[in-house]
C-alpha cells in the first residue's frame, strides 16, 4: 500500500512537471528563429485578397514573427524582381502588410506610419503602392471607420500627398478622410465577416437601413426591402476598443501572457486537487488504523 502510494505520488509529480513545462516549451518554440523564418519565406505565397501562407513552416508562427519584427522587416525591405523563382524568393511588401493586419490597432497605426516613411523616402517602383493601405482581412475598412482618429487623419493626409498622381486613390482617400465611408463597412462583405477593429474613442456607425430609410422617405409607396428592425441594432454593432489600445504594449507581451495565466490556473487547480486527494487518503488511512 505504501509502495503504491509513493508510486502514485511520483506519477503526480511527473504529471505536474509536464503540465508546467510543456506550455513553457511550447511558448519558447512559438518564436520562430531567423533561419526558420527565412526558410518559411521561401515557401510563402500571398494573394490579392490578402490571404497568405507558407508551405515550409507554421503560418501562425510565421505571422507572429512578422508582427514582432515588422519594423526591421520594413527597414530592410528590398524589392525583388525574381520572386517567381522559389530559390530566389524573398519576403514581399504585400505579405508584410497582410500579416501586419494581425497587429493590435494602435500598433497597426504605427506600422502604417512607418510604411509611409519608407515610401516617402524611396521610390521602390511599386505597381500601385496605395493598395498597401487597404486592409483585406482583420483590418478591412480599418481606416474608413477610424477616420476621426487624429493619427488616422494624419496617415490619410500623408497618403493624399504621396499618391497625388493617382486620381482613383485620391478620390477614395478623400472619401475616407471625410468620413463618407465610415458606415460602409458592411458593404459587399460576407454576411459572417467580423466587424472592423476600432481605435480608442471610435464607435462604429450603424450601416443598416440608412439607404432604405432614405428611399422610403422619398417614395412612400416603396415597400421593398426587409423590415428595418431585421438587422442588428446599433447597440449590437458597437464593440469596445481593443484592450491593447489602452497602452502601446509590446506585442510579444500580449501574445505570451496567456500561457502563464493558464499555467497559474492549472497549478492552482493541481495543488488544490493534490491537497484534497491527500486529505482523502489520510482520512482513509486513519479510518483503517482506527478500525484495526
Amino acid at each position: 500500500m505504501k509502495d503504491f502510494y509513493f508510486n502514485m505520488h511520483n506519477i503526480k509529480i511527473l504529471i505536474c512537471y509536464f503540465i508546467v513545462t510543456l506550455p513553457m516549451e511550447h511558448s519558447m518554440a512559438a518564436s520562430m528563429s531567423k533561419q526558420e523564418f527565412d526558410k518559411a519565406v521561401k515557401g510563402s505565397t500571398s494573394f490579392e485578397d490578402g490571404y497568405y501562407d507558407t508551405k515550409t513552416g507554421d503560418k501562425a508562427e510565421f505571422t507572429r514573427y512578422i508582427c514582432e519584427h515588422w519594423l526591421s522587416l520594413l527597414e530592410s525591405y528590398e524589392p525583388n524582381e525574381n520572386n517567381n523563382d522559389p530559390n530566389n524568393k524573398t519576403l514581399t511588401i504585400d505579405l508584410i502588410c497582410f500579416a501586419a493586419e494581425n497587429l493590435p490597432p494602435i500598433q497597426y497605426v504605427d506600422f502604417l506610419d512607418k510604411l509611409l516613411d519608407i515610401l516617402e523616402a524611396r521610390d521602390f517602383g511599386f505597381d500601385d503602392p496605395s493598395t498597401l493601405f487597404h486592409g483585406r482581412n482583420a483590418k478591412y475598412s480599418f481606416l474608413q471607420v477610424n477616420w476621426e482618429h487624429p493619427r488616422v487623419q494624419a496617415i490619410l493626409q500623408r497618403q493624399i500627398k504621396l499618391f497625388a498622381n493617382d486620381p482613383i486613390a485620391i478620390s477614395a482617400l478623400k472619401s475616407t478622410a471625410s468620413g463618407k465611408l465610415a458606415d460602409s463597412y458592411r458593404t459587399n462583405v460576407p454576411d459572417d465577416a467580423p466587424y472592423p477593429e476600432t481605435l480608442p474613442g471610435i464607435k462604429l456607425l450603424p450601416p443598416d437601413g440608412v439607404l432604405l430609410k432614405k428611399i422610403r422617405s422619398m417614395i412612400p409607396s416603396f415597400t421593398g426591402g426587409p423590415p428595418l428592425s431585421a438587422g442588428p441594432t446599433r447597440q449590437q454593432r458597437e464593440r469596445p476598443s481593443h484592450p491593447d489600445d489602452l497602452a502601446s504594449t509590446p506585442l510579444s507581451g500580449s501574445y505570451r501572457a496567456w500561457p502563464w495565466l493558464t499555467i497559474l490556473g492549472l497549478l492552482g487547480g493541481l495543488i488544490t486537487g493534490i491537497w484534497k486527494y491527500r486529505s482523502g487518503s489520510n482520512r482513509t488511512r486513519k479510518f483503517t488504523e482506527a478500525d484495526r
Binding site: Y51, T131, R186, P190, P207
Partner: protein, 348 residues
C-alpha cells in the same frame, strides 16, 4: 509508296520574332526517290469559323480562339507536306479538366461544309482541318506520322503573351503558362450567351474599373443602387458582365443597407445560392470535370475575411476576375494554388 525508306527527321526549335516558337524540321527521305531536302517552318494556327447561310466569317481571335458549338474550328499547318509521300498529318485535341489535368488526346474528325467528297476521302493528305466542336477548353496539336511509324508532334503554341497575366503584387508576378511560346488553347462556350459573357469579360482585361479603390455603382439601372468604394469587387464585375449581355443575375437585400446588392461569391459557390437561387435565373450548377468552358462563372470559397474569388472562365482555363488593381487572368486551372480550392462552376 510502300517502298519508301524510313525518313530521318531532324527537328530544331527556334524563336522567331513574329511567330514566337517555331518548329524547323529537316526531313531526308530516300534521296533516290525524292531529293527534297529543306527546312520547313511549321506553325500551327487555329481560327473559329462562323458559318452562316451565305457566308463564312472568322471569329475575332485577338485574345484567343473561342467558339460556340455551332461554329467550326479551322486549324492550319503553315506548310503543305504532300511532298513527303505516304506521310499523314493528324489533328488531335485534348480537353482540360477542372483539376488542371487533361483527358487523353483524341484525333479530330474533319467535317466539310462544302461537300467535297474527294477532299474528304483524302483528308489526311490535307494540312489543315475544319471540324465540329463541343463545349470545353482544349489543347491542339498536329501529329505528322511517317510510314515507319515515327512521328513528330507540333503543338499549338501562343504567338504572344496573353493580356493581363500579372497578379496584384507591388512587384507583380507573371503566370508563365500564359506567355508566348507556351501551349495555347481553343475554347468552346456552352452557347451563344456564354460566349457573350466571355467576350465581355475579356474586354475588361487590364482595366482598373473594378479595382479596390475605384467607385462603382452596383446596379446601373437602379436609381438608388449605392456606389461602392474601397472594397473587393470581383462579384460586382461578374454581375455587370453577365447583366450587360443578358445573362442577368439577381440582386438581393443585404442587411437593409442596399436595396440592390449584387450576389456575393457565396451565392455563386453554394448550391442553392446563399441569398437567392441562381438556378431560377438560368445559372446551373456545373460539374468541375466536364463543364470547364469559356463564359462559365467559377467561384472559390476561399479562406479568411474577404477572400475567395468569383471570375469568368477564359478560353484557356484562366480565371478572368477583378483583382485589387486590375481585371486580370493570373489564375489558371493548370497551376493555381490550393487557396482557390475548392471551387464550383456555374453555366448558362
Amino acid at each position: 509508296v510502300t517502298n519508301v525508306e524510313p525518313v530521318q527527321i531532324m527537328l530544331e526549335v527556334a524563336e522567331n520574332e513574329i511567330f514566337g516558337k517555331v518548329y524547323n524540321f529537316q526531313a531526308e527521305p530516300n534521296l533516290a526517290v525524292n531529293t527534297f531536302v529543306t527546312y520547313v517552318p511549321a506553325v500551327i494556327s487555329a481560327e473559329g469559323l462562323v458559318i452562316g447561310p451565305n457566308s463564312v466569317t472568322g471569329r475575332d481571335r485577338s485574345d484567343g480562339v473561342c467558339l460556340t458549338p455551332t461554329d467550326k474550328l479551322q486549324a492550319n499547318f503553315s506548310r503543305e507536306i504532300e511532298s513527303f509521300t505516304g506521310s499523314k498529318l493528324y489533328w488531335q485535341s485534348r480537353k482540360l479538366k477542372g483539376d488542371g489535368s487533361f483527358e487523353s488526346w483524341t484525333t479530330m474528325v474533319p467535317s466539310f461544309f462544302d461537300g467535297d467528297e474527294e477532299e474528304e476521302v483524302d483528308n489526311h493528305r490535307r494540312v489543315d482541318i475544319i471540324t465540329d466542336v463541343e463545349p470545353g477548353v482544349f489543347q491542339l496539336r498536329a501529329v505528322w506520322i511517317f510510314l515507319n511509324g515515327s512521328q513528330i508532334e507540333f503543338p499549338y503554341v501562343r504567338m504572344r503573351d496573353s493580356r493581363s497575366i500579372k497578379n496584384g503584387d507591388q512587384i507583380p508576378l507573371t503566370n508563365k503558362l500564359l506567355k508566348a511560346g507556351e501551349l495555347d488553347f481553343f475554347g468552346v462556350a456552352e452557347n451563344e450567351i456564354s460566349f457573350k459573357v466571355w467576350n465581355k469579360a475579356k474586354s475588361f482585361l487590364g482595366s482598373t474599373r473594378y479595382s479596390f479603390a475605384q467607385e462603382v455603382e452596383t446596379d446601373f439601372d437602379n436609381l438608388f443602387s449605392p456606389s461602392l468604394k474601397n472594397c473587393n469587387k470581383c462579384n460586382i464585375f461578374v454581375t455587370h458582365v453577365a447583366k450587360s449581355v443578358g445573362a442577368t443575375t439577381p440582386y438581393f437585400y443585404l442587411w437593409g443597407l442596399s436595396p440592390h446588392a449584387p450576389i456575393a461569391r457565396d451565392d455563386w459557390y453554394s448550391n442553392p445560392g446563399k441569398h437567392i437561387a441562381l438556378e431560377a435565373y438560368g445559372w446551373k450548377y456545373g460539374n468541375n470535370d466536364i463543364d470547364v468552358a469559356p463564359g462559365s462563372v467559377i467561384a472559390a470559397y476561399g479562406t479568411g475575411h474577404s477572400s475567395g474569388h468569383v471570375c469568368v472562365l477564359d478560353y484557356d482555363g484562366s480565371w478572368i476576375g477583378a483583382g485589387s488593381k486590375t481585371v486580370n487572368k493570373f489564375i489558371n486551372l493548370q497551376n493555381m494554388d490550393a487557396h482557390y480550392l475548392p471551387f464550383t462552376i456555374r453555366k448558362r
